[in-house]
Symmetry: C3
Subunit: 476 residues, 3 copies
């Protein structure tokens, strides 16, 4: 799961990858292809493709099957796909890529499962190094786990491995083996093609198993070996919603633990989910119920939470976010925001800004040290520095047909319940009086006021109170 | 805990139930009778009564004791009650129902504990089937659990059971028995009455124990047997707040696991509590901090959360609810609501409606595709389709004495900070200008505007800014 | 962790304490001294100092080291500090206090670690009692734990203890000892000074170890013994963020369990963190996501949550708080507040008050039975009883330079979107009309209304609708 910049082995030889993504996931009770189910808001397929890309593998072919249109639409040309129209086993799935593989005759090819999201760059490159160093035709990526029930076991020989035995075929002695097949492999592409020509479907299921290629290559005198991943999560996949929840929890705590190692503070991790592409600076405190998503960067010594959603945002250092939802926005150092605030896409909050309760900012720039304290909507606006918003200010940016911008100069003072009817400009150091609807530009330093006739009607309330008391007490 | 429609055994014989609800729960530190403590917001007594009703048992007698008025008020005539004025054991409690039981001479009677909430219909009917099939006088409902310490153990014989031995009286060999008494029984009513006449209180506590009835019936030559429930939670009860929390967690994860089997997605279950009468469609995502209560139905492919409370609501498919509290309301397909929204009772949100941040809807109908984006209160209103609400709109539905309705036609456009003084009607395609207080009906297609005199006072702000700077910097 | 009022032993002899607070905590990735890291929002050092103060120890000397200015600033003169400018071991740290100790020649001194927060008053006083009762020169505070790996083991003799053996020096047999050194000690001050003069640094690290004092005193014929704390958490400390999270979780569940014993109800403890100085009455329900901090008192039979932050508040009985953040405020019995409400410092909410969604109260008094239902800001105000606020009311308490108060009499009725421009007084039973900006006092029983000219422009909306439809459909 870690990032690494370590280069691929320097041997001057191509690498490519095939990702098997044809599965259905019937027990999920959904039409989504299995690799499209999400772990921490990212489809499992994308976890796998990210690991390829981090490993420097740019030539990737995805084998689709069940509801393939969903995957094709999701990939949107990011990598090639081939369709396995009948599902006849993993070997059969790889056979679909024969033509694609023939474009890389002098290469090694990585075979990955699109629904085993935790394969990582260290494992991929570590296995490749061994694969090449030992001259293997095939290198099985394996893990050693406490409870290997159900998995294929690795049979070690004096020189590499002598095979993989499925759980159901294993002897009692073999069942004790804890090194298991993750289903990921490095092959010499030429030898993979050789093996694919020889895999048979003469088994009870009538399927072509990719594991058979190991025996075929061993029989042909090639070398097969296994690479034990340090990360035993590489074997994890999910067949139902419970399994998927388990993957989410595994990913959650991997990321939270990594962040703690980097100096991030957690008081209570309940309800905290942090996506894999999120960065958080040392000394930042993450409170309960915080969801960090997408490509989000958070600076040092912030306090985030409780109950925030921060997605695709860049947050400076020393920022306080309390019960804030922020999307595709930027917040500069020292801003204090919340509670109960939404920053909608395209917002840029300057340093030292204070945004208080029940405020929405949308597609607007808020200058440094400006204060938007309560019950205000700032939309499609360019706000200067040191501005003070009273309570209940609304920018009327939409007239039912078009959206217009509002501009507010530095040090302006916007009175309570002011309506700013865009397009409009409030000048530097200008004032608007409480309750005014501003439809025309206000010059620098001026006060704009819109006010009706003020009257007092005596005894109105006194009479009404009598009626209210009658109502309350039921007595005249 | 599951629902079942399986019919009661077809033997043409009555069934009835006695529920023991006299306990106190001293260690709860509360005056509430123990069966009134809640698991997932439902009193334990109601869990038990629901299981009776799902099993087709309509004649139920509740034996009350400690603070019986609370239970009587809660039941409100739903079923009969008898008072056990002194607490002298479970046998004594059942004796109180003698007169009531005598109304069902040819019947089988189920004895349940009002503070063991997880008894279920499958167990009740499975036990009844065995009870009748084997011709038992008494059938003890049992469970097999890993740690039976403290429970009465079941002594099996060649033909049924030979007795129940209390933990404190058990021999070391008997203490190893893992089949335990849940405290629930089926009796042939006639034979129960026979046994009740013979239970003695000549024990150290001076109490009448219902378990003695098993020995009495065996001695009289009747058959006694035990039915092992597949659901070992049937034995669970709570004596203190920690035990109650454990019951809540047991129920929580039972329900969450059942929902996952049905295709509901959970990314993080922290803070998620779902009541037992809630239904959620496949493909719906439930995020952290979601509370679903009462009789709530949620459609397919929704996203609910984080941090919602949805109580007694019907939510259509494809709805998005983000940080929403909704009570006794209905939301149609494809509506997007949140964050920070409250739907108060009597709201009906049409398909495709968008409700944004800091909006409250109360006792109102919102037509399809209407948009209420921010900082608005819609109360006691009938709103048409395709309406656009600006920011800060308030319906003034209450004049201190009475509440009135507001009507808004299709395609109307309500300007920012408009006050709608009910009773009032805004016509189809009508506009209200920002900042207007609307006290009279607005015809279809018209614009209503209430605006005061607008003035600009030059240099007002400039002078004020000087004072502010002096204040800020402390310098003239 | 518990509070206790039990008196210190009655022997007429002084007690004092030295707290070692020089550590760095490198793996925290922060410049904060280790004892300043927080457990449940309280620095570990303060946990330790609180335990001293609860034990009746008022003379305390804190030994600082790494980044000592931070600790000095935090203590702000609360107790004396001495600087250990080089870090040369625990013995060396205590040597720094020689001069300070010499002020208490006839006393017992407690040595504590500033980063072991769970030392408690019962342990301190229990150990002191034994220390004096048995005439010990030194009493080591110990705990018995399941996995003692890494800790120094206590070597018991026929008369007290014969030493402490470090984990790395222990024989296989000694490694099985489960009684370990917590690092806290009672010393006869005179004998501690004697020992400090004799500790040597002739070990591989070149450090002075305080544990050596035990051997020195035993060799000199003094008595050493160990006191096993009933609370094995006294040994816990944290070296990294993961350890700190563990301390937080330990403290969280200790407090939650204590509260359950006191009759507080929890349905789901996820996201619940309660500070150590918080009191909650029996029968109160705490829901998920509740953060109680500082010196907060909550009455009986309240419902708090979900998702509240309550800090330094006094909450009466029967109060309902749903998604509320409240700071330095007071809420009287029976008030119902939320969802989505903030009470800022200095607010006092009367009995029976109802505060609804999207309301902020700041530095204001709200009289009994007043209702502030929606989208309102009440700041710097004195509000009477039985007042009704419409939706969208704003007190304009700030003119950019100064803050002013608003006064509202009993039974007043404030219309929707009213602006109250402070300083202003609304009389008893007075009304303000919706949409009015009130700049002058309103007499008792009067209605104040500020309203502009109202006009209707026919067909305005009809024409606009055509444009909107063209826009929407793209057709003329």
């Amino acid at each position: 799961m870690g990032n690494t910049d370590s280069a691929v082995p320097t041997q001057n030889r191509a690498i490519c990858a095939v990702v098997l993504a044809g599965g259905q996931g019937k027990r999920m009770k959904s039409d989504l292809p299995k690799p499209m189910f999400e772990v921490l808001d990212t489809p499992m397929l994308d976890w796998v493709l990210d690991a390829c890309s981090q490993s420097g593998i740019s030539d990737v072919c995805v084998v689709t099957g069940f509801n393939h249109g969903v995957i094709e639409a999701h990939l949107d040309g990011r990598c090639e796909t081939v369709l396995q129209s009948e599902r006849r086993g993993t070997g059969h799935a790889v056979m679909m890529t024969r033509k694609w593989l023939s474009r890389f005759p002098e290469s090694d090819v990585l075979i990955l499962n699109g629904d085993a999201p935790f394969i990582d760059c260290e494992t991929i490159l570590g296995a490749l190094w061994q694969h090449r160093h030992k001259g293997n035709a095939v290198t099985v990526i394996t893990a050693s786990i406490d409870n290997p029930d159900g998995y294929g076991r690795i049979l070690r020989s004096e020189n590499g491995i002598s095979g993989i035995i499925e759980d159901r075929d294993a002897s009692p002695e073999q069942r004790k083996i804890t090194e298991i097949n993750s289903g990921a492999y490095w092959f010499d592409t030429k030898q993979l093609l050789y093996a694919l020509d020889r895999i048979k479907s003469n088994n009870s299921q009538g399927e072509y198993y990719l594991t058979d290629s190991v025996f075929i290559l061993l029989s042909a005198g090639f070398r097969a070996d296994a690479y034990i991943s340090a990360n035993s999560n590489v074997v994890l996949g999910a067949n139902d919603r419970k399994g998927l929840l388990l993957l989410n929890n595994t990913a959650r705590f991997d990321i939270i633990n990594r962040m703690m190692d980097e100096g991030v503070e957690f008081i209570c991790t309940d309800g905290v989910t942090i996506g894999k592409n999120v960065c958080v600076g040392a000394g930042t405190k993450i409170l309960q119920g915080v969801i960090l998503k997408g490509k989000t960067e958070i600076g040092e010594n912030c306090v985030v939470g409780p109950n925030c959603i921060i997605e695709n945002c860049k947050i400076g250092s020393g920022v306080v976010l309390n019960s804030v939802q922020a999307y595709d926005s930027e917040v500069e150092r020292g801003a204090r925001i919340g509670p109960f605030v939404q920053l909608r896409p395209g917002s840029r909050i300057g340093a030292g800004v204070k945004i208080g309760n029940f405020v929405e900012i949308k597609n607007s720039t808020i200058g440094e040290d400006t204060s938007v304290s309560h019950l205000t909507y700032v939309g499609d606006s360019d706000v200067g520095c040191g501005v003070n918003f009273g309570c209940g200010v609304a920018t009327a940016n939409y007239d039912g047909e078009n959206k217009y911008r509002t501009t507010i100069g530095n040090d302006a003072f916007i009175g309570c319940n002011t309506n700013l009817i865009a397009p409009v400009r409030i000048g530097n150091a200008a004032y608007t009086a409480a309750g005014s609807t501003i439809t025309k530009d206000v010059p620098d330093g001026a006060l704009a006021i819109e006010r009706g006739e003020a009257r007092v009607i005596h005894d109105y309330g006194t009479k009404r109170l009598k009626a209210r008391i009658v109502k309350r007490t039921g007595k005249q």
